[in-house]
């Protein structure tokens, strides 16, 4: 009986390690091509990730009901305006199931970067979003270079450092 339990524990530990490394490989600090997507922007125009190839792209997943997301928005806006001339773009992918609250919020607190709508959460799933908010920074070649989960005041400095690094490449 002891032999069986030890065997089971070993198998389970192995399965857990494999699962976590697999997850980390796709959504960690390691590389991988950024999954392609096409979403409708708030303006109504379609937007694809590939149209930004050649620029450094930050994809920020946010929602109207998420406090920390609201906190970082104005800072992301400042960052977008600052780095845009150097070949940087920020795509705000909203995950709300309904659009009216999104329009309402942005009418009160507008941002200048493109806001894309992902109500079916297909892009969130493709990017293995496991925390709100999440930011994925993609280099000029379309490879994921950095994933940041959550937001605490001061994280924007981390974003800026990474963006500067990738712009120089």
């Amino acid at each position: 009986m002891a032999h069986t339990i030890a065997g089971l524990l070993r198998r389970c530990a192995l399965a857990a390690i494999v699962a976590t490394t697999a997850a980390a490989a796709v959504a960690g600090d390691s590389s991988g091509p950024a999954p392609a997507f096409t979403l409708t922007a708030l303006t109504g125009q379609p937007a694809t990730l590939s149209q930004y190839r050649g620029q450094v792209v930050m994809v920020n997943f946010w929602a109207t009901w998420c406090g920390p997301c609201q906190q970082e928005m104005p800072l992301l806006d400042q960052m977008y305006k600052k780095f845009k001339p150097a070949g940087f773009t920020l795509l705000g992918v909203n995950v709300d199931k309904d659009t009216p609250p999104v329009r309402e919020l942005l009418a009160r607190k507008p941002v200048s970067f493109p806001v894309l709508l992902d109500p079916a959460n297909s892009v969130s799933k493709a990017y293995h979003v496991d925390e709100m908010p999440s930011s994925v920074i993609i280099d000029r070649k379309g490879e994921i270079r950095y994933v940041h989960r959550g937001y605490k005041p001061g994280d924007e400095n981390e974003y800026q450092d990474r963006i500067r690094q990738l712009i120089r490449e």
Binding site: G67, P68, R108, D130, E131, K152, P153
Partner: protein, 371 residues
């Protein structure tokens, strides 16, 4: 008691002003409170609360003294919260002082988010040290006789689990141990005494000097698709004094528009009596431990309550993010199964006195500013 927090993020800064009034059973109690909460560096939060209760009235228990009691209770508490990664730590201190009762409580708890933040596990420890006295004078010229101390320790554990996108459930378990002077000095027992024209004579209560109790509570909250929430709670309590109690509560929360939220509440409570409780003891010194405190009697109570919240400043103003004003009214019906109202009883057989029952109304009005 475990604190209620949102997962992994400290709640907003806030200031609350609170007023309450309780009328029932011959008692009038008003309460006023101020609470302020502030975050520092998104990792620490400090909360301070000051609460004053003013009690006046002549309850059913003070029959022979027949004096109107008037007393003030002041409670101050300070708590500090620290969040790191997925763990929240809470340390708090509370002091409650009234003329004949002083209580100091320290509490520590931690809660941990796990499993994609679907599960939150909490552990807490609370220690209270109390000084119990009796006012042998009057409300206006008090003479306090300090009778003893009591020490209470509470250990709690809880788990909260997100079940579906619409349903969250929680389970809490706690054990409380008390020791020391656990009696209420203002109560007394009565025993059958045919030599007395009233049919009974008074005597002193004798309480055990230890008590251990445990409670388990299950709760759930469900989101209804048209935007409303249904909550249900069930708690089972039992202790070494022989008390068994059940509490069931249902709440229904309905936002009516962007700025109004209506909530309805129904609570049902029933308890069995303590083993050493009796409304009328057969003779003097019948048991080692004796009590006639109606809190330990077999009783039931039910509450019907409603709450209306109005959000003024939904979009904020200057440094304020949001402001709400709330009115909450509860009507409680108390019924005792083995405690009789002998306050104005003129008969000769105590068992002919009516079983005690009374209604109480609780009003609460408060203003909350979030910034």
């Amino acid at each position: 008691m475990l604190r209620v927090t949102g997962a992994a993020v400290l709640p907003d800064d806030r200031a609350d002003v609170f007023y309450s009034s309780y009328n029932g059973g011959g008692m009038d109690i008003t309460g006023e409170s101020v609470l302020v909460r502030k975050k520092f560096a998104e990792q620490f939060a400090v909360e301070a609360n000051y609460f004053v209760d003013t009690v006046s009235g002549a309850s059913v228990d003070v029959l022979s003294n027949a004096s109107v009691i008037k007393d003030k209770r002041k409670q101050k508490s300070l708590s500090v919260e620290y969040i790191h990664d997925k763990t929240t730590y809470n340390l708090s201190y509370t002091n409650s002082t009234e003329r004949d009762y002083i209580s100091n409580t320290t509490h520590f708890s931690l809660s941990q988010d796990m499993f994609g933040e679907l599960t939150t596990v909490s552990l807490g420890f609370t220690r209270s040290r109390n000084q119990v006295g009796e006012n042998d004078g009057t409300s206006f010229a008090p003479i306090i006789d300090w009778l003893g101390h009591s020490d209470s320790r509470s250990y709690d554990a809880g788990v909260s689990q997100v079940i579906t996108r619409n349903l969250i459930a929680g389970l809490t378990f706690d054990v409380i141990t008390d020791q020391g002077y656990l009696s209420n000095p203002y109560r007394f027992i009565i025993y059958f005494d045919p030599t007395n024209p009233r049919g009974f004579s008074e005597g002193d209560q004798v309480y055990p000097n230890t008590r251990t109790s445990s409670a388990v509570e299950a709760r759930a909250k469900y989101y209804l698709p048209y935007r409303a929430a249904l909550g249900a709670t069930y708690r089972y309590f039992s202790d070494t004094w022989g008390i068994r109690a059940n509490t069931t509560e249902l709440t229904y929360t309905q936002p009516v528009s962007n700025v109004w939220i209506l909530e309805g509440r129904f609570r049902y409570y029933s308890q069995g009596h303590a083993t050493f409780y009796s409304d009328l003891f057969p003779f003097a010194g019948a048991q080692n431990f004796e009590s006639r405190d109606k809190e330990l009697a077999a009783s039931k109570n039910n509450t019907v309550g409603g709450k209306l919240t109005y959000t003024f400043l939904p979009d904020g103003w200057k440094m304020f993010k949001r402001g709400t004003a709330t009115l909450d009214i509860s009507r409680i019906q108390f019924k005792y199964g083995d405690f009789r109202d002998i306050k104005d009883f003129a008969g000769t057989s105590e068992v002919d006195a009516p079983l005690y029952r009374f209604n109480a109304t609780v009003f609460q009005i408060y203003l909350s500013m979030y910034f």
